[in-house]
Symmetry: C2
Subunit: 341 residues, 2 copies
Amino acid sequence: MNDNFLRACRREPVDVTPVWFMRQAGRYMAEYRAIRARHTLLDICRRPDLAAEVTLQPVERLEVDAAILFSDLLLPLEPMGIPFDFVKNEGPVIERPVRAAEDVSRLRRCDPREALPHVLATIRLVRHELDGRVPLIGFAGAPFTLASYAVEGGASRSYARTKALMYGEPAVWHDLCDTLAAVVSEYLLAQVEAGVQAVQLFDSWVGALCVRDYHEFALPHTTRILRAVQASGVPVIHFGTGTATLLEAMAAAGGDVVGVDWRIPLDEAWERIGADKAVQGNLDPTLLLGPIDRLLAGADRVLRQAAGRPGHIFNLGHGILPETPVEHVQALAQFVHARSA
Amino acid sequence: MNDNFLRACRREPVDVTPVWFMRQAGRYMAEYRAIRARHTLLDICRRPDLAAEVTLQPVERLEVDAAILFSDLLLPLEPMGIPFDFVKNEGPVIERPVRAAEDVSRLRRCDPREALPHVLATIRLVRHELDGRVPLIGFAGAPFTLASYAVEGGASRSYARTKALMYGEPAVWHDLCDTLAAVVSEYLLAQVEAGVQAVQLFDSWVGALCVRDYHEFALPHTTRILRAVQASGVPVIHFGTGTATLLEAMAAAGGDVVGVDWRIPLDEAWERIGADKAVQGNLDPTLLLGPIDRLLAGADRVLRQAAGRPGHIFNLGHGILPETPVEHVQALAQFVHARSA
């Protein structure tokens, strides 16, 4: 088995820098679009045969060192009592947003083993089909990011309602995040039991908080999840965007690897995070839309910024964009391996 | 005249910390909503009587130390040949986005004195009605931010098309920004001639760039504008959001004051910016949606982080949100004055 990814998570020496990509299964790939033409996103998430097929597509097509479960961050919300749907050009839409104490008290602390058995079946199927070629990463959303969808009713720019709840009714906020943390912890542990070999906690939108608010409103809940999953023995990646001023706090929250975006040079990021953690990142995903020489020059810089100690997993600073040419992703993965060999 | 704002821009001692708010004229205020009920945003921008009235509303209602011209960042695009409109719940929509060399070569380097005379008339009217009570700030968008609207066709999360143009056709990108910089420079100089006493350059979305890209794709064009306006003698504020890793570069680009958002503590920001510039900011605007004690505690922290040298202008880290209670804005302005006296 190619264990470079798991070795890098543990800051052990590797023969080449491992690489995988957030949203490596997605609309930029013709194989994925062919399936999406016949099924909705949620259908794919709910059918293990389709979710497994989509999870494996980038492993067949790209030289990646890990597969990541195909799923959606919001899946646990539905069995908790927060149904949602994806509306074309709008993204996720939550029918009844969580805005008040009554909404929070109504939430169910569901057992993900019963509520999301299809996700666990997908994991077993993918592990079987991967047959040890590369490790499989599981994932879930962190409480702040999940709460922001639940409170706003979808995506947001200002997180106005989310922060108004945080500031105005901190007890309700903490109750909401406590419930989310309980479900997410169990969800990730269930993924580990089903076979994922590492886990990424996505706090994608946490960069909207200042560090003080991060400590008060996000960190305690995130720490609880990170500790629970780390106790299971698999490496945990803790990821967010726009986190240049939060990296020390995110590292303090826990996890083995901190994932960073392109807004901060990776060497500066690692210095803030500390040498006792691995790092993941951090090429700007829009570089994949430009010419290949600029793309590879950018990748080379990321590799050089991370050189000198083990513990770098190459990735983008955020997910692959739908308009990305697949050949560029292939060339990038190859380059990372060749250049770091 | 209350010249605390202008004195702080020049890092001269003041008796109280001056305060104004981005979007201090806007939907959070009943007086503004009464006018917007009968006129579109663009109508108000184009009618000096209405634009002046709206500009003055917060000066009547709040204890602010400056007025800011009521206008929209995108106004100069229309006479350049990039018409747009505001669509409910969607924000600005540009009919024919700028995507290729032909689109850029078709742009007009209009003279804002001829193309936007209503803006200049508004300035004269506001100056007359202010009668020296507080200074009037003019503004315009910086090339990166304006180009992002022109290229994306509206607001964006990923700036995928903008960056694809930047990376893929840098000559076209620079040509576009060169044209924008020429028009914006003249536009701001015309505002100064008409009577604004300071100017803010909004590079609101520049935080999407890493520092290397900032230097290559944004800084040269921004510098050109900042230099041209500084030569006119009025103080210039250079503002962006999500700029924690760009502050040194933004300071190097020019301007007298750097405006920062809440994602970085103001003392850390000022250290990055350098003691030879004034700073503006940086309370999270969503704090205005919560309880007043938390709001004022946040304002107190900002004041303490900026204490010790002259050159702090109190502001939010971004514009006032529409759902903000006007009483909280009043209380905040009063608190800043009382606490810093």
